[in-house]
Structures are given as C-alpha cells and as structure tokens.
Amino acid sequence: MRDERDLRDEIDGEGDPLIGSVVRELRRPVRMDPALDARVMAAILGDAKGPAAEPARVAAHTVRRGPWRWLLEPKTVRISPLLGLAMAAGLAAIMVLGARRGGSDATPTEFGAPGTGIVSQVANPGTTLQSYVHFVFVAPSARRVSVVGDFNDWKVNETPLRPVQNQHGVWSVSVPLPPGRYTYTFVVDGNTWVADPSAPPALEDDFGTPKSVVTVGGSHT
C-alpha cells in the first residue's frame, strides 16, 4: 500500500521528469497586467450605468424609454388622510357603478333574454314609471351607430350608441322612456338603416324601411 509520502512524490512528479516539469510550470506564478483590474471594473460599471461604457447607444436608448420611465419608476405619493379617505370612497363608488353597468351590458334583457330591453325602472315623484331601455346592437365593422325612433324625433345623430368595453363590435346606449310603445331603427355609419334583430318587428311599414318595437309597460299619466 502506498503511504501519503509516496502519493505526494507521485503528484510532484518525483518519479517522472516530464510530469515534474508540467507540475512546476503550473505552479509558476502568473504575471498580471497592472491595468487589468481597472479595465474589468470599468466594464462592469459600464454595463450597470450605461453612459460610461457606450455613450451614444445608451443615450439613444434612454431617449426612447423616456416617456415610460415616469410610469415605470417607483414614485412616492404623499396624500393627506382626508384626501385618502375621499379617494377610497370614490373608487368604491366607481366599482359599484361599474358592476351595475357591467351587469347591464352583460345581460341587456327584456325579462331575461339577450338584446335590447328594459334594464331598470324608476318611480318618479309623480305617478309615472320611468324605464331605462338598453338598446344593444352588434356591428363589428361599424364606425358609428345610432338609434332613431319615436323617442328622439327620428333624428339620426341624436342618440349615438357607444362601444361596449371588452366586447368587440357591441354597441349600446340606455334611454329613459315613459310607458308606451315605440318604434325605432338603428343607423350604421349614418346611412344604413337596420331593424333590431333582437326585437319584434313593427307591423307598420309606411316608408319601406323595416323598424322594430319596444314596449314599456306600466301605468301612463
């Protein structure tokens, strides 16, 4: 068995002149360039800070990111406790309103079915019941949509529909209407008259353009 001394002699190459020369060469101290440390540190700082290493490229990058930096960098906003409470209440109100509107948009119903219909009814101080009729129309390629009917003097631009958020091509508007029967039509891009596919058609067709009917129930004055 070999002991520890025999093993060291073997590693040192005592037994073999070739191995011994290789070991000695590997153990020889390496001479370093005195400026190497400075160059390495400059390169590291250049990656971190940019302008020191590559001024032109990094300057352009900074200009390109400029508008985003304000949004992306952390900010400290200081507000008074009173204003904080007011903002919290405001956000809560927005969430409640958003939930209500979202519900209406998701299920614009006349007693449960999708499409144009009555979404809410409000009792006025008098005897009449005010209903909000939610008009819904799907037109993915339309630039603008409006509704014309007995409730707005058939004025084409009087009651524009607005795109429903997160529902591509869906347009809607809510219109308060007292009890009664109303005929109406959608107008797409100001010149195409289209009956509401989700509502009953009107029997009367005096002018050759199909139209639809919405009926608001309740007692009339």
Binding site: V77, V148, N152, D153, E158, P179, G180, P200, D206, G217
Partner: protein
C-alpha cells in the same frame, strides 16, 4: 405627512370617472315644442301644412298629436315623398280614432298607439274592446303590443287576439305576456307554424297560471293542424279562475 396627488394622478382618476359615466340620454326631448315647430325644417312647407291640418283635426276630437308628429318626422328622416308622409299620418289618425272607439274615451296615448297598431295588423275592434273589459283600470299597452308583435311574427290576427285575450282572462301580468311572446318567437324560430306556436304556448302559460285544464279552449286556431281544444268562444265563454 401632508401633500397632494400630482396632476397626472388626478387626470387618471378623472379619466376613470368619465369612462364609467352612464351613457344615458334624455328622451322625448322634443315633446315640449308645438307640432308645427317640431316639423319646421324637417318637412317642406306644403307637406308641413297638410300634416299640421291632419294633426289639428285629430286634436279637435281629442286624439293625441304626438304619434302623428312622430309619424311625420319618421317619414322626413327617411326622406319619403311629401304625399306619402301625409297619407301615413292620415292613416294613423284614422287608426287612433278607431282604437279610441274600441278602448274608450279614457284610453291613454300608449294604449291608443298600441291599439292602432293592432288594428293595422288586422285585429277586429271588438277583440280590443273585450281586452278592455278584461282589464278594467289597468293599462292595455303591453297586451296590445304583444298582440301586434305576434301578428308581425306571422300569427293570424284572430289567433293572436284570442290567445292574448285568454291569457288576460287568467290574469297574466305584462311580464308573463312578454315572456309568452318570446316563447312563441322561439318556437317559430325553430320551425313551428306561428299560429300553432301561439296556441300551444298560451295553453301552457294559462295552465301554469292555474287555469283549469278542462275549462275549454277559447283560441281561434286557423292553422288547423293542432290537436288542441278549439271551440267558439262566443258559445263557450271561459270562466275566470
């Protein structure tokens, strides 16, 4: 620590508030103006004079002006010829008058408009009068509108009238009548004959409302392809539950 939210932050809050503002618009904004003023600028002078004459004549016998103005404005918006607009207004005035005869002097404007539409669709005036008798003191706007909508979907006027009348007899509410109409539309959409769909759905609705199953049918079914009960209502009047 005191401080204020900066301008950009307030702009973000304002934008959120605007995005969530309800899209509600005032309706019937023109009703405060006189008919002549509302028609001015929408119709040529000759057509406007003829329409105003019809409106004045109707108002003289107590008929509402608003539906007549709406009809004229609809024609104007659709760029119809003057003669056609005057003819449409005159026709509607006649139907409003007939509707008032059927519904009574106290009929509301909504009832008259819905009744005029039903008459236009071919419903007989006596059917409308019977509806009035079944709902004294209650609005008939929705039942009459449902009646017209059934006819517009292809249900015969007599069948539409008898089904709506039957449901009114068993105290169907406005919501139930609208639901009934929607079910009929759904059946028609799946291929059912319109009048058969109306009769079938009205029987189901009436039974759901507690009408006696053996009370006899009061439906006029001119589709003639049903197995439902068919009797002449005048011979076997339906009893209220």
């Amino acid at each position: 620590m005191r401080g204020l939210v900066t301008g950009p932050a307030l702009a973000v809050v304002a934008a959120v508030l605007l995005l969530h503002a309800p899209a509600r618009l005032p309706a019937q904004q023109g009703q405060g103006a006189t008919p002549d003023a509302r028609l001015s600028g929408r119709l040529d002078a000759r057509t406007r004079a003829a329409v105003v004459h019809v409106i004045d004549s109707a108002a003289a016998v107590g008929l509402p002006a608003e539906p007549l103005v709406d009809k004229a404005l609809e024609g104007a918006s659709k760029r119809a010829a003057g003669e056609r607009i005057v003819a449409a207004v005159r026709r509607l005035a006649g139907e409003l008058g007939a509707a008032r005869l059927a519904l009574g002097q106290r009929a509301s404007e909504g009832e008259l408009v819905a009744g005029a539409s039903a008459l236009h669709g071919g419903v007989r005036p006596d059917a409308i009068s019977r509806l009035r008798g079944e709902r004294p003191g209650q609005s008939l706007t929705v039942p009459l509108a449902v009646l017209s909508e059934l006819i517009a979907r292809g249900v015969s006027p007599d069948t539409a009238a008898s089904t709506v009348l039957a449901l009114t007899e068993v105290r169907a509410t406005d919501e139930q009548l609208v639901a009934f109409r929607r079910e009929v539309e759904r059946d028609i959409g799946t291929g059912a004959p319109p009048s058969a769909a109306a009769v079938g759905r009205s029987l189901a609705t009436a039974e759901a409302l507690g009408a006696p199953a053996n009370s006899g049918g009061s439906f006029v079914d001119d589709s003639r392809n049903l197995t439902t009960r068919e009797t002449d209502r005048t011979k076997q009047p339906r009893k209220r539950p």
